[in-house]
């Protein structure tokens, strides 16, 4: 199996994901780590709570990695996303991709994160220094209506 995906309410084990994609014939491992930053627009952020539809999110990760594997042959993937509350600096997402040469792992890793942002049923509630919180806007999963003229 070349794909490992999941969601967790425990700290994401970076070494486990890197070790999963490691392979003797691969000379490159690219890792993306998403973290909670302390600002969003003009607001001072103190933390983020992540909500997720666990089954559909995991399925979306697997589908995205499968697509990437089709585009970049021979690559291996490990993707884990956190579900729950994180403080500033907390790790929300880890994507590890390996490939024989570096170009493919850079490109495939970028593909995976960009698709996760558009397709994975995961939501962020930001918490601010003011004490207020807000659910962030995002990409609609609703199918676009086709109009024939």
């Amino acid at each position: 199996m070349d794909i490992l995906v999941g969601l967790t309410s425990e700290p994401i084990d970076l070494c486990r994901l890197v070790d999963f994609v490691r392979e003797d014939g691969h000379g490159a491992i690219d890792v993306f780590i998403g973290t909670v930053r302390n600002r969003h627009k003009r607001n001072v952020v103190t933390g983020i709570t992540y909500d997720a539809h666990l089954e559909l999110a995991e399925k979306s990760f697997f589908d995205i990695c499968s697509e990437a594997r089709g585009l970049w042959e021979g690559t291996r993937y490990a993707v884990f996303h956190y579900k729950g509350a994180l403080p500033v600096g907390g790790t929300s997402l880890v994507i590890a991709v390996s490939s024989p040469h570096r170009a493919e792992s850079f490109e495939a890793c970028r593909y995976v994160i960009e698709e996760i942002k558009k397709r994975a049923p995961i939501w962020k509630q930001e918490h601010y220094e003011s004490g207020q919180s807000a659910w962030l806007p995002g990409h609609s999963l609703e199918e676009e209506e086709v109009c024939y003229v």
């Binding site: 998403g34 992540y50 909500d51 997720a52 539809h53 089954e55 559909l56 999110a57 399925k59 996303h81 929300s92 997402l93 994160i113 996760i116 942002k117 558009k118 397709r119 994975a120 049923p121 995961i122 939501w123 962020k124 509630q125 659910w135 962030l136 806007p137 995002g138 990409h139 609609s140 999963l141 609703e142 199918e143 209506e145």
Partner: protein, 80 residues
Amino acid sequence: MKVTIQFYGAFRQFGQDLSFTLSSPITVRELKSLLVSSLGAHQKDLIESSAFASESSIIGRDSLIETDCTLSILPPVCGG
């Protein structure tokens, strides 16, 4: 029939879920209108931009719901 909608993201402010008891089949499009009536007109844009899903996949606006079921309403996503 009973249709239960599980809430995610911004819908969590309304609780875990909401159930409707219906006397006839209903499309997802019609279910959205029902939800607007229940949650308030100020939620219309959020509801319209959200997708409905079964346990395994997203279902389209014209999908017909004919039996007891539990669906999820998925607001616009922003993971990562």
